[in-house]
Subunit: 308 residues, 2 copies
Protein backbone atom coordinates (compact mmCIF):
# COMPACT_ATOMS: atom_id res chain seq x y z
CA UNK A 1 0.00 0.00 0.00
CA UNK A 2 1.44 3.38 -1.07
CA UNK A 3 -1.47 5.67 -0.51
CA UNK A 4 -4.13 5.76 2.17
CA UNK A 5 -7.07 7.97 3.02
CA UNK A 6 -8.37 8.07 6.60
CA UNK A 7 -11.22 9.73 8.46
CA UNK A 8 -10.20 11.18 11.84
CA UNK A 9 -12.94 11.92 14.36
CA UNK A 10 -13.32 14.90 16.63
CA UNK A 11 -13.10 14.14 20.34
CA UNK A 12 -14.27 15.51 23.67
CA UNK A 13 -11.55 15.38 26.31
CA UNK A 14 -11.89 15.54 30.10
CA UNK A 15 -15.60 14.64 30.20
CA UNK A 16 -16.13 17.18 32.99
CA UNK A 17 -14.64 15.41 36.02
CA UNK A 18 -11.89 13.43 34.23
CA UNK A 19 -9.37 16.18 33.54
CA UNK A 20 -6.47 14.78 31.50
CA UNK A 21 -7.64 11.16 31.84
CA UNK A 22 -10.92 10.70 29.94
CA UNK A 23 -12.07 11.38 26.40
CA UNK A 24 -14.62 10.19 23.87
CA UNK A 25 -14.75 10.14 20.07
CA UNK A 26 -17.51 11.83 18.07
CA UNK A 27 -19.15 10.70 14.85
CA UNK A 28 -19.19 14.35 13.74
CA UNK A 29 -17.22 16.39 12.79
CA UNK A 30 -14.20 14.59 11.35
CA UNK A 31 -11.18 15.36 9.20
CA UNK A 32 -10.01 13.57 6.06
CA UNK A 33 -6.30 12.94 5.56
CA UNK A 34 -4.53 11.34 2.64
CA UNK A 35 -0.96 10.06 3.01
CA UNK A 36 1.39 8.88 0.27
CA UNK A 37 4.71 7.14 0.83
CA UNK A 38 7.83 8.94 -0.42
CA UNK A 39 11.26 7.39 -0.87
CA UNK A 40 13.06 10.29 0.82
CA UNK A 41 12.88 11.08 4.56
CA UNK A 42 10.82 14.22 4.15
CA UNK A 43 7.31 15.44 4.92
CA UNK A 44 5.31 17.47 2.42
CA UNK A 45 2.04 18.98 3.59
CA UNK A 46 -0.89 20.24 1.53
CA UNK A 47 -3.87 21.88 3.16
CA UNK A 48 -7.20 21.40 1.41
CA UNK A 49 -9.20 23.72 3.62
CA UNK A 50 -9.38 27.40 4.56
CA UNK A 51 -7.69 27.33 7.96
CA UNK A 52 -4.26 28.45 6.77
CA UNK A 53 -2.43 26.06 9.08
CA UNK A 54 1.37 26.00 8.67
CA UNK A 55 2.70 23.67 5.98
CA UNK A 56 6.28 23.58 7.31
CA UNK A 57 6.40 20.10 8.88
CA UNK A 58 8.12 21.36 12.04
CA UNK A 59 5.23 23.75 12.68
CA UNK A 60 2.41 21.44 11.62
CA UNK A 61 0.80 19.01 14.04
CA UNK A 62 0.69 16.14 11.52
CA UNK A 63 4.17 17.15 10.36
CA UNK A 64 5.90 16.79 13.73
CA UNK A 65 4.21 13.45 14.25
CA UNK A 66 5.51 12.14 10.94
CA UNK A 67 8.99 13.61 11.48
CA UNK A 68 9.20 11.84 14.84
CA UNK A 69 8.20 8.59 13.16
CA UNK A 70 10.71 9.02 10.29
CA UNK A 71 13.48 9.44 12.88
CA UNK A 72 12.83 5.89 14.10
CA UNK A 73 12.94 4.29 10.66
CA UNK A 74 15.96 2.52 9.27
CA UNK A 75 14.97 3.00 5.63
CA UNK A 76 14.69 6.41 3.92
CA UNK A 77 10.94 6.93 3.88
CA UNK A 78 8.85 10.08 3.84
CA UNK A 79 5.22 11.15 3.56
CA UNK A 80 3.20 13.42 1.34
CA UNK A 81 0.15 14.52 3.33
CA UNK A 82 -3.06 16.18 2.23
CA UNK A 83 -5.25 17.44 5.05
CA UNK A 84 -8.88 18.36 4.70
CA UNK A 85 -9.93 19.72 8.06
CA UNK A 86 -13.55 19.95 9.10
CA UNK A 87 -12.80 20.17 12.82
CA UNK A 88 -12.05 23.83 13.31
CA UNK A 89 -8.67 24.47 14.94
CA UNK A 90 -9.07 25.89 18.44
CA UNK A 91 -12.63 24.65 18.83
CA UNK A 92 -11.85 22.37 21.76
CA UNK A 93 -13.10 19.21 20.10
CA UNK A 94 -9.75 17.68 19.28
CA UNK A 95 -8.76 19.32 16.01
CA UNK A 96 -5.03 18.92 16.65
CA UNK A 97 -5.55 15.38 17.95
CA UNK A 98 -7.37 14.41 14.76
CA UNK A 99 -4.43 15.60 12.63
CA UNK A 100 -1.89 13.96 14.92
CA UNK A 101 -3.73 10.68 15.35
CA UNK A 102 -4.70 10.47 11.69
CA UNK A 103 -1.11 11.03 10.59
CA UNK A 104 0.27 8.46 13.02
CA UNK A 105 -2.30 5.76 12.23
CA UNK A 106 -2.18 6.27 8.45
CA UNK A 107 1.63 6.34 8.34
CA UNK A 108 1.85 3.20 10.45
CA UNK A 109 -0.54 1.41 8.10
CA UNK A 110 1.58 2.47 5.11
CA UNK A 111 4.59 1.04 6.98
CA UNK A 112 2.83 -2.30 7.39
CA UNK A 113 1.98 -1.82 11.07
CA UNK A 114 5.61 -1.47 12.03
CA UNK A 115 4.73 0.16 15.35
CA UNK A 116 2.59 -1.07 18.21
CA UNK A 117 -0.68 0.70 19.11
CA UNK A 118 1.01 2.30 22.14
CA UNK A 119 3.87 3.54 19.96
CA UNK A 120 1.36 5.04 17.53
CA UNK A 121 -0.22 6.94 20.42
CA UNK A 122 3.23 8.10 21.55
CA UNK A 123 4.04 9.44 18.08
CA UNK A 124 0.68 11.21 17.90
CA UNK A 125 1.28 12.84 21.28
CA UNK A 126 4.14 14.79 19.71
CA UNK A 127 1.47 16.66 17.77
CA UNK A 128 -0.33 17.59 20.99
CA UNK A 129 2.96 18.78 22.43
CA UNK A 130 3.31 21.18 19.48
CA UNK A 131 -0.31 22.33 19.71
CA UNK A 132 -0.66 22.82 23.45
CA UNK A 133 2.78 22.44 24.99
CA UNK A 134 1.76 19.26 26.79
CA UNK A 135 1.90 15.62 25.68
CA UNK A 136 -1.59 14.62 26.67
CA UNK A 137 -3.49 11.64 25.28
CA UNK A 138 -7.08 12.28 26.29
CA UNK A 139 -7.99 13.33 22.73
CA UNK A 140 -5.44 11.14 20.93
CA UNK A 141 -6.50 7.85 22.54
CA UNK A 142 -10.25 8.06 21.80
CA UNK A 143 -9.51 9.50 18.34
CA UNK A 144 -7.45 6.41 17.50
CA UNK A 145 -9.46 3.78 19.36
CA UNK A 146 -12.99 5.17 19.24
CA UNK A 147 -15.43 5.04 22.14
CA UNK A 148 -14.45 6.28 25.57
CA UNK A 149 -10.81 6.05 26.62
CA UNK A 150 -9.30 6.22 30.08
CA UNK A 151 -5.68 7.30 30.17
CA UNK A 152 -4.83 5.79 33.54
CA UNK A 153 -1.24 6.87 33.22
CA UNK A 154 0.98 8.71 30.74
CA UNK A 155 4.29 7.43 32.19
CA UNK A 156 4.08 4.53 31.56
CA UNK A 157 1.35 4.85 28.95
CA UNK A 158 -1.73 2.90 30.08
CA UNK A 159 -4.87 3.30 28.01
CA UNK A 160 -8.09 1.49 28.92
CA UNK A 161 -11.26 1.37 26.83
CA UNK A 162 -14.43 2.05 28.82
CA UNK A 163 -17.63 0.45 27.52
CA UNK A 164 -20.64 2.77 27.49
CA UNK A 165 -24.31 2.80 26.59
CA UNK A 166 -25.50 4.67 23.52
CA UNK A 167 -25.22 8.36 24.24
CA UNK A 168 -26.06 11.41 22.19
CA UNK A 169 -23.66 14.31 22.26
CA UNK A 170 -24.63 17.89 21.56
CA UNK A 171 -21.76 20.32 21.04
CA UNK A 172 -21.84 24.07 20.70
CA UNK A 173 -18.75 25.88 19.50
CA UNK A 174 -19.02 29.57 20.30
CA UNK A 175 -16.68 31.34 17.88
CA UNK A 176 -14.30 32.83 20.41
CA UNK A 177 -10.67 31.94 20.91
CA UNK A 178 -9.46 30.04 23.98
CA UNK A 179 -5.87 28.92 23.58
CA UNK A 180 -5.22 25.49 25.13
CA UNK A 181 -1.96 26.78 26.58
CA UNK A 182 -3.74 29.75 28.23
CA UNK A 183 -6.48 27.43 29.54
CA UNK A 184 -3.74 25.37 31.20
CA UNK A 185 -1.90 28.34 32.64
CA UNK A 186 -4.87 29.67 34.59
CA UNK A 187 -5.23 26.40 36.51
CA UNK A 188 -3.98 26.38 40.08
CA UNK A 189 -1.12 23.99 40.69
CA UNK A 190 -2.55 23.03 44.07
CA UNK A 191 -6.06 21.91 44.87
CA UNK A 192 -7.84 21.28 48.15
CA UNK A 193 -7.77 17.64 49.23
CA UNK A 194 -11.50 17.82 49.95
CA UNK A 195 -12.15 18.98 46.38
CA UNK A 196 -9.88 16.25 45.00
CA UNK A 197 -11.87 13.67 47.01
CA UNK A 198 -15.14 14.98 45.59
CA UNK A 199 -13.62 14.84 42.11
CA UNK A 200 -12.42 11.26 42.40
CA UNK A 201 -15.83 10.21 43.71
CA UNK A 202 -17.33 11.69 40.57
CA UNK A 203 -14.76 10.07 38.27
CA UNK A 204 -15.37 6.67 39.81
CA UNK A 205 -19.12 7.33 39.53
CA UNK A 206 -18.87 8.37 35.89
CA UNK A 207 -16.86 5.30 34.87
CA UNK A 208 -19.22 3.05 36.82
CA UNK A 209 -22.21 4.76 35.22
CA UNK A 210 -20.79 4.15 31.75
CA UNK A 211 -20.09 0.50 32.47
CA UNK A 212 -23.43 -0.15 34.21
CA UNK A 213 -25.42 1.73 31.54
CA UNK A 214 -26.74 3.85 34.41
CA UNK A 215 -27.76 7.15 32.83
CA UNK A 216 -28.75 8.76 36.12
CA UNK A 217 -25.39 7.94 37.69
CA UNK A 218 -23.64 9.35 34.62
CA UNK A 219 -25.64 12.53 35.05
CA UNK A 220 -24.96 12.85 38.80
CA UNK A 221 -21.24 12.26 38.24
CA UNK A 222 -20.82 14.92 35.54
CA UNK A 223 -19.65 17.48 38.11
CA UNK A 224 -16.27 19.21 38.19
CA UNK A 225 -15.33 21.15 41.30
CA UNK A 226 -11.71 21.78 40.26
CA UNK A 227 -11.19 22.75 36.62
CA UNK A 228 -14.58 24.04 35.47
CA UNK A 229 -14.94 26.80 38.08
CA UNK A 230 -11.65 28.29 36.80
CA UNK A 231 -11.89 27.66 33.08
CA UNK A 232 -15.57 28.41 32.56
CA UNK A 233 -14.79 32.08 33.17
CA UNK A 234 -13.16 32.10 29.73
CA UNK A 235 -16.40 30.99 28.05
CA UNK A 236 -19.19 33.60 27.84
CA UNK A 237 -22.61 32.13 28.58
CA UNK A 238 -21.21 28.92 30.05
CA UNK A 239 -23.20 28.85 33.29
CA UNK A 240 -26.42 29.72 31.52
CA UNK A 241 -25.95 27.14 28.77
CA UNK A 242 -25.16 24.42 31.27
CA UNK A 243 -28.07 25.19 33.54
CA UNK A 244 -30.60 25.48 30.74
CA UNK A 245 -29.38 22.35 28.94
CA UNK A 246 -29.75 20.29 32.09
CA UNK A 247 -33.22 21.70 32.70
CA UNK A 248 -34.03 20.77 29.10
CA UNK A 249 -33.17 17.12 29.72
CA UNK A 250 -29.40 16.75 29.18
CA UNK A 251 -27.77 14.24 31.54
CA UNK A 252 -25.02 16.78 32.06
CA UNK A 253 -21.93 18.12 30.40
CA UNK A 254 -19.40 20.90 30.50
CA UNK A 255 -16.36 22.30 28.76
CA UNK A 256 -15.08 20.16 25.89
CA UNK A 257 -11.34 19.85 26.36
CA UNK A 258 -10.05 23.30 27.21
CA UNK A 259 -12.98 24.95 25.45
CA UNK A 260 -14.51 27.06 24.11
CA UNK A 261 -16.84 24.29 22.91
CA UNK A 262 -19.39 23.06 25.42
CA UNK A 263 -20.81 19.54 25.18
CA UNK A 264 -23.84 17.86 26.69
CA UNK A 265 -24.69 14.16 26.90
CA UNK A 266 -28.27 13.00 26.41
CA UNK A 267 -29.89 9.60 26.57
CA UNK A 268 -31.74 9.96 23.25
CA UNK A 269 -31.75 12.01 20.07
CA UNK A 270 -34.89 13.93 20.97
CA UNK A 271 -33.30 15.30 24.14
CA UNK A 272 -30.08 16.03 22.26
CA UNK A 273 -32.01 18.11 19.68
CA UNK A 274 -33.83 20.07 22.37
CA UNK A 275 -30.45 20.73 24.00
CA UNK A 276 -29.16 22.03 20.65
CA UNK A 277 -32.06 24.48 20.46
CA UNK A 278 -31.26 25.73 23.97
CA UNK A 279 -27.61 26.25 23.02
CA UNK A 280 -28.57 28.13 19.86
CA UNK A 281 -30.98 30.35 21.78
CA UNK A 282 -28.42 31.29 24.42
CA UNK A 283 -25.64 32.22 21.97
CA UNK A 284 -28.04 33.98 19.61
CA UNK A 285 -29.19 36.12 22.52
CA UNK A 286 -25.63 36.79 23.75
CA UNK A 287 -24.68 37.67 20.18
CA UNK A 288 -21.77 35.27 19.66
CA UNK A 289 -21.51 33.26 16.42
CA UNK A 290 -21.56 29.51 16.90
CA UNK A 291 -21.68 26.05 15.32
CA UNK A 292 -23.57 23.15 16.80
CA UNK A 293 -23.38 19.38 16.29
CA UNK A 294 -25.78 16.67 17.39
CA UNK A 295 -23.98 13.37 17.13
CA UNK A 296 -23.23 10.05 18.83
CA UNK A 297 -20.15 8.31 20.19
CA UNK A 298 -17.86 7.12 17.41
CA UNK A 299 -16.95 3.51 18.21
CA UNK A 300 -14.34 3.02 15.47
CA UNK A 301 -11.78 5.79 15.85
CA UNK A 302 -9.52 6.67 12.92
CA UNK A 303 -10.98 4.77 9.98
CA UNK A 304 -9.54 3.83 6.60
CA UNK A 305 -11.63 5.29 3.79
CA UNK A 306 -9.50 3.93 0.96
CA UNK A 307 -6.03 2.62 0.30
CA UNK A 308 -4.09 1.34 -2.67
CA UNK B 1 -39.57 -9.55 66.18
CA UNK B 2 -38.22 -8.43 69.56
CA UNK B 3 -34.73 -9.80 69.48
CA UNK B 4 -32.20 -10.10 66.67
CA UNK B 5 -28.64 -11.32 66.34
CA UNK B 6 -26.49 -10.03 63.46
CA UNK B 7 -23.00 -10.66 62.10
CA UNK B 8 -21.15 -7.50 61.12
CA UNK B 9 -18.16 -7.83 58.80
CA UNK B 10 -14.83 -6.08 58.98
CA UNK B 11 -14.08 -3.75 56.08
CA UNK B 12 -11.14 -2.27 54.21
CA UNK B 13 -11.65 1.41 53.40
CA UNK B 14 -9.89 3.57 50.81
CA UNK B 15 -8.54 0.64 48.73
CA UNK B 16 -5.27 2.51 48.21
CA UNK B 17 -6.20 5.16 45.65
CA UNK B 18 -9.84 5.69 46.70
CA UNK B 19 -9.39 7.73 49.86
CA UNK B 20 -12.78 8.36 51.51
CA UNK B 21 -14.75 6.95 48.55
CA UNK B 22 -14.09 3.19 48.27
CA UNK B 23 -14.35 0.26 50.64
CA UNK B 24 -14.89 -3.49 50.62
CA UNK B 25 -16.33 -5.98 53.10
CA UNK B 26 -14.36 -8.97 54.44
CA UNK B 27 -15.60 -12.45 55.29
CA UNK B 28 -13.26 -12.40 58.29
CA UNK B 29 -13.12 -11.12 60.98
CA UNK B 30 -16.65 -10.10 62.02
CA UNK B 31 -18.50 -9.02 65.15
CA UNK B 32 -21.68 -10.48 66.61
CA UNK B 33 -24.32 -8.14 68.01
CA UNK B 34 -27.61 -8.95 69.68
CA UNK B 35 -30.31 -6.31 70.03
CA UNK B 36 -33.50 -6.50 72.08
CA UNK B 37 -36.37 -4.01 71.92
CA UNK B 38 -37.14 -2.09 75.09
CA UNK B 39 -40.31 -0.11 75.81
CA UNK B 40 -38.42 2.88 77.18
CA UNK B 41 -36.30 5.28 75.07
CA UNK B 42 -32.98 4.13 76.49
CA UNK B 43 -29.90 2.22 75.34
CA UNK B 44 -28.27 -0.44 77.51
CA UNK B 45 -24.96 -1.85 76.38
CA UNK B 46 -23.24 -5.08 77.40
CA UNK B 47 -19.79 -5.95 76.18
CA UNK B 48 -19.07 -9.64 75.74
CA UNK B 49 -15.39 -9.29 74.90
CA UNK B 50 -12.18 -8.08 76.49
CA UNK B 51 -11.81 -4.70 74.81
CA UNK B 52 -13.25 -2.64 77.67
CA UNK B 53 -15.12 -0.33 75.33
CA UNK B 54 -17.34 2.28 77.06
CA UNK B 55 -20.84 1.13 77.95
CA UNK B 56 -22.29 4.62 78.39
CA UNK B 57 -24.37 4.98 75.21
CA UNK B 58 -23.10 8.52 74.54
CA UNK B 59 -19.51 7.24 74.46
CA UNK B 60 -20.18 3.97 72.63
CA UNK B 61 -20.21 3.77 68.83
CA UNK B 62 -23.30 1.53 68.70
CA UNK B 63 -24.82 3.61 71.48
CA UNK B 64 -24.72 6.95 69.66
CA UNK B 65 -26.15 5.32 66.54
CA UNK B 66 -29.10 3.95 68.50
CA UNK B 67 -29.63 7.21 70.40
CA UNK B 68 -29.77 9.11 67.10
CA UNK B 69 -32.36 6.63 65.84
CA UNK B 70 -34.45 6.81 69.02
CA UNK B 71 -34.61 10.59 68.62
CA UNK B 72 -36.48 10.15 65.34
CA UNK B 73 -39.08 7.74 66.72
CA UNK B 74 -42.55 8.76 67.74
CA UNK B 75 -43.07 5.85 70.11
CA UNK B 76 -41.02 5.28 73.29
CA UNK B 77 -38.65 2.54 72.16
CA UNK B 78 -35.18 1.58 73.34
CA UNK B 79 -32.56 -1.08 72.77
CA UNK B 80 -30.63 -3.53 74.89
CA UNK B 81 -27.42 -4.35 73.03
CA UNK B 82 -24.88 -7.10 73.55
CA UNK B 83 -21.68 -6.71 71.57
CA UNK B 84 -19.19 -9.49 70.95
CA UNK B 85 -16.31 -7.88 69.12
CA UNK B 86 -13.81 -9.92 67.13
CA UNK B 87 -12.60 -6.97 65.06
CA UNK B 88 -10.05 -5.36 67.30
CA UNK B 89 -10.73 -1.64 67.91
CA UNK B 90 -8.09 0.53 66.28
CA UNK B 91 -6.99 -2.17 63.84
CA UNK B 92 -7.99 -0.22 60.73
CA UNK B 93 -10.36 -2.84 59.39
CA UNK B 94 -13.60 -1.16 60.30
CA UNK B 95 -14.14 -2.12 63.93
CA UNK B 96 -16.18 1.01 64.70
CA UNK B 97 -18.08 0.70 61.42
CA UNK B 98 -19.09 -2.88 62.26
CA UNK B 99 -20.57 -1.74 65.58
CA UNK B 100 -22.25 1.27 64.03
CA UNK B 101 -23.58 -0.54 60.95
CA UNK B 102 -24.66 -3.59 62.93
CA UNK B 103 -26.56 -1.46 65.43
CA UNK B 104 -28.29 0.56 62.72
CA UNK B 105 -29.27 -2.44 60.58
CA UNK B 106 -30.41 -4.59 63.49
CA UNK B 107 -32.42 -1.80 65.11
CA UNK B 108 -34.10 -0.95 61.82
CA UNK B 109 -35.08 -4.59 61.35
CA UNK B 110 -36.56 -4.65 64.87
CA UNK B 111 -38.52 -1.52 63.90
CA UNK B 112 -39.94 -3.29 60.84
CA UNK B 113 -37.70 -1.51 58.31
CA UNK B 114 -39.00 1.89 59.31
CA UNK B 115 -36.02 3.65 57.73
CA UNK B 116 -34.70 3.58 54.17
CA UNK B 117 -31.28 2.05 53.38
CA UNK B 118 -29.78 5.55 52.99
CA UNK B 119 -31.22 6.60 56.35
CA UNK B 120 -29.71 3.49 57.96
CA UNK B 121 -26.31 4.51 56.56
CA UNK B 122 -26.83 8.05 57.86
CA UNK B 123 -27.59 6.75 61.39
CA UNK B 124 -24.55 4.50 61.29
CA UNK B 125 -22.32 7.40 60.24
CA UNK B 126 -22.99 8.98 63.65
CA UNK B 127 -20.90 6.15 65.08
CA UNK B 128 -17.99 7.00 62.77
CA UNK B 129 -18.27 10.61 63.85
CA UNK B 130 -17.80 9.52 67.47
CA UNK B 131 -14.93 7.18 66.61
CA UNK B 132 -12.92 9.36 64.26
CA UNK B 133 -14.42 12.83 64.32
CA UNK B 134 -15.58 12.53 60.72
CA UNK B 135 -18.83 11.20 59.24
CA UNK B 136 -17.35 8.99 56.58
CA UNK B 137 -19.14 6.07 54.92
CA UNK B 138 -16.35 4.12 53.24
CA UNK B 139 -16.48 1.43 55.95
CA UNK B 140 -20.17 1.77 56.79
CA UNK B 141 -21.46 1.30 53.25
CA UNK B 142 -19.60 -1.94 52.41
CA UNK B 143 -20.27 -3.25 55.93
CA UNK B 144 -24.01 -2.86 55.39
CA UNK B 145 -24.20 -3.75 51.70
CA UNK B 146 -21.33 -6.20 51.26
CA UNK B 147 -19.01 -6.24 48.25
CA UNK B 148 -17.26 -3.10 47.09
CA UNK B 149 -18.94 0.24 47.65
CA UNK B 150 -18.27 3.58 46.02
CA UNK B 151 -19.35 6.58 48.05
CA UNK B 152 -19.63 9.02 45.15
CA UNK B 153 -20.83 11.75 47.44
CA UNK B 154 -21.59 12.23 51.13
CA UNK B 155 -23.73 15.38 50.65
CA UNK B 156 -26.05 14.23 49.19
CA UNK B 157 -25.39 10.60 50.09
CA UNK B 158 -24.79 8.60 46.89
CA UNK B 159 -23.63 5.00 47.32
CA UNK B 160 -22.94 2.79 44.31
CA UNK B 161 -22.17 -0.94 44.41
CA UNK B 162 -19.20 -1.93 42.25
CA UNK B 163 -19.21 -5.49 40.90
CA UNK B 164 -15.88 -7.30 41.19
CA UNK B 165 -14.26 -10.61 40.38
CA UNK B 166 -13.42 -13.04 43.17
CA UNK B 167 -10.51 -11.62 45.10
CA UNK B 168 -8.55 -12.90 48.05
CA UNK B 169 -7.60 -10.45 50.75
CA UNK B 170 -4.66 -10.89 53.08
CA UNK B 171 -4.56 -8.55 56.07
CA UNK B 172 -1.82 -8.06 58.61
CA UNK B 173 -2.55 -6.10 61.75
CA UNK B 174 0.69 -5.03 63.42
CA UNK B 175 -0.16 -4.43 67.07
CA UNK B 176 0.67 -0.75 67.21
CA UNK B 177 -1.72 2.12 67.74
CA UNK B 178 -2.59 4.56 64.96
CA UNK B 179 -5.52 6.78 65.93
CA UNK B 180 -7.83 7.54 63.00
CA UNK B 181 -8.02 11.15 64.10
CA UNK B 182 -4.19 11.43 64.13
CA UNK B 183 -4.00 9.74 60.73
CA UNK B 184 -6.35 12.40 59.40
CA UNK B 185 -4.53 15.30 60.99
CA UNK B 186 -1.19 14.56 59.33
CA UNK B 187 -2.72 14.82 55.86
CA UNK B 188 -2.00 17.97 53.91
CA UNK B 189 -5.08 20.03 53.13
CA UNK B 190 -3.72 20.86 49.69
CA UNK B 191 -2.40 18.49 47.08
CA UNK B 192 -0.65 19.07 43.76
CA UNK B 193 -3.01 19.04 40.78
CA UNK B 194 -0.62 16.71 38.96
CA UNK B 195 -0.81 14.23 41.85
CA UNK B 196 -4.59 14.52 41.96
CA UNK B 197 -4.71 13.75 38.21
CA UNK B 198 -2.54 10.67 38.72
CA UNK B 199 -4.81 9.61 41.57
CA UNK B 200 -8.02 9.95 39.61
CA UNK B 201 -6.49 8.00 36.73
CA UNK B 202 -5.82 5.22 39.20
CA UNK B 203 -9.28 5.37 40.75
CA UNK B 204 -10.93 5.17 37.34
CA UNK B 205 -8.55 2.31 36.48
CA UNK B 206 -9.34 0.44 39.69
CA UNK B 207 -13.09 0.67 39.26
CA UNK B 208 -12.78 -0.33 35.60
CA UNK B 209 -10.53 -3.23 36.58
CA UNK B 210 -13.10 -4.47 39.11
CA UNK B 211 -15.94 -4.24 36.62
CA UNK B 212 -13.99 -5.81 33.73
CA UNK B 213 -12.56 -8.58 35.93
CA UNK B 214 -9.14 -7.34 34.78
CA UNK B 215 -6.71 -8.42 37.52
CA UNK B 216 -3.70 -6.77 35.91
CA UNK B 217 -5.48 -3.43 35.64
CA UNK B 218 -6.56 -3.75 39.29
CA UNK B 219 -2.93 -4.33 40.20
CA UNK B 220 -1.59 -1.41 38.14
CA UNK B 221 -4.22 0.92 39.59
CA UNK B 222 -3.49 0.11 43.25
CA UNK B 223 -1.19 3.11 43.55
CA UNK B 224 -1.64 6.06 45.90
CA UNK B 225 0.54 9.13 45.40
CA UNK B 226 -1.30 11.33 47.90
CA UNK B 227 -2.26 9.64 51.17
CA UNK B 228 0.05 6.64 51.43
CA UNK B 229 3.34 8.57 51.26
CA UNK B 230 2.22 10.55 54.34
CA UNK B 231 0.42 7.90 56.36
CA UNK B 232 2.74 4.98 55.74
CA UNK B 233 5.33 6.70 57.93
CA UNK B 234 3.12 5.78 60.91
CA UNK B 235 3.37 2.07 60.09
CA UNK B 236 6.73 0.39 60.76
CA UNK B 237 7.72 -2.03 58.01
CA UNK B 238 5.13 -0.73 55.55
CA UNK B 239 7.39 -0.20 52.54
CA UNK B 240 9.07 -3.56 53.03
CA UNK B 241 5.80 -5.47 53.46
CA UNK B 242 4.31 -3.86 50.39
CA UNK B 243 7.32 -4.47 48.18
CA UNK B 244 7.77 -8.08 49.28
CA UNK B 245 4.07 -8.94 49.02
CA UNK B 246 3.95 -7.66 45.46
CA UNK B 247 7.08 -9.59 44.58
CA UNK B 248 5.41 -12.66 46.12
CA UNK B 249 2.44 -12.37 43.75
CA UNK B 250 -0.03 -9.96 45.34
CA UNK B 251 -1.86 -7.78 42.83
CA UNK B 252 -1.22 -4.85 45.13
CA UNK B 253 -2.49 -3.28 48.30
CA UNK B 254 -1.69 -0.75 50.95
CA UNK B 255 -2.93 0.74 54.19
CA UNK B 256 -6.33 -0.53 55.31
CA UNK B 257 -8.38 2.52 56.24
CA UNK B 258 -6.13 4.73 58.32
CA UNK B 259 -3.99 1.78 59.42
CA UNK B 260 -2.13 0.23 61.04
CA UNK B 261 -3.45 -2.87 59.21
CA UNK B 262 -2.05 -3.47 55.75
CA UNK B 263 -4.05 -5.41 53.14
CA UNK B 264 -3.11 -7.09 49.90
CA UNK B 265 -5.36 -8.36 47.11
CA UNK B 266 -4.55 -11.60 45.32
CA UNK B 267 -6.18 -13.44 42.48
CA UNK B 268 -6.23 -16.82 44.22
CA UNK B 269 -5.92 -18.40 47.65
CA UNK B 270 -2.46 -19.80 47.00
CA UNK B 271 -1.04 -16.33 46.34
CA UNK B 272 -2.91 -14.93 49.33
CA UNK B 273 -1.34 -17.57 51.61
CA UNK B 274 2.15 -16.85 50.29
CA UNK B 275 1.50 -13.16 50.94
CA UNK B 276 0.49 -14.01 54.51
CA UNK B 277 3.80 -15.79 55.03
CA UNK B 278 5.68 -12.75 53.76
CA UNK B 279 3.77 -10.49 56.15
CA UNK B 280 4.47 -12.81 59.09
CA UNK B 281 8.17 -12.96 58.22
CA UNK B 282 8.56 -9.17 58.04
CA UNK B 283 6.82 -8.44 61.34
CA UNK B 284 8.50 -11.34 63.12
CA UNK B 285 11.86 -9.96 62.03
CA UNK B 286 10.97 -6.38 63.01
CA UNK B 287 9.74 -7.71 66.35
CA UNK B 288 6.19 -6.34 66.34
CA UNK B 289 3.27 -8.58 67.39
CA UNK B 290 0.66 -9.10 64.69
CA UNK B 291 -2.50 -10.88 63.56
CA UNK B 292 -3.12 -11.98 60.00
CA UNK B 293 -6.24 -12.93 58.07
CA UNK B 294 -6.60 -14.61 54.71
CA UNK B 295 -10.14 -14.09 53.50
CA UNK B 296 -12.39 -13.16 50.59
CA UNK B 297 -14.80 -10.35 49.78
CA UNK B 298 -17.99 -10.60 51.81
CA UNK B 299 -20.89 -10.15 49.38
CA UNK B 300 -23.70 -10.01 51.96
CA UNK B 301 -22.82 -7.28 54.42
CA UNK B 302 -24.49 -7.23 57.85
CA UNK B 303 -26.29 -10.56 58.08
CA UNK B 304 -29.08 -11.80 60.35
CA UNK B 305 -27.95 -14.83 62.36
CA UNK B 306 -31.21 -15.28 64.26
CA UNK B 307 -34.30 -13.35 65.25
CA UNK B 308 -37.42 -13.99 67.22
Amino acid sequence: MNRIKVKCPGTVANLVCGFDILGLALNEPSDIMELRLLDKPEVIIHNRDNYNLPTEPERNVAGVVLLSMIEKLEKPVGFDVTIEKHIKPGSGIGSSAASAAGAAVAANLLLGNLFSPDEVVQFAMNGEKLASGVKHADNIAPCILGGISLIRSIHPLDIVSIPSPDLFVTVVHPQIEVRTSDARQILKQQVLLKDAIRQWGNIAGLVTGFMKNDYDLIGRSLEDVIIEPVRSILIPGFDEVKKQCKEAGALGGGISGSGPSVFMLSRNEKDARVVETVMKDVYTRIGIDFNTYVTTINKKGVEVVSGE
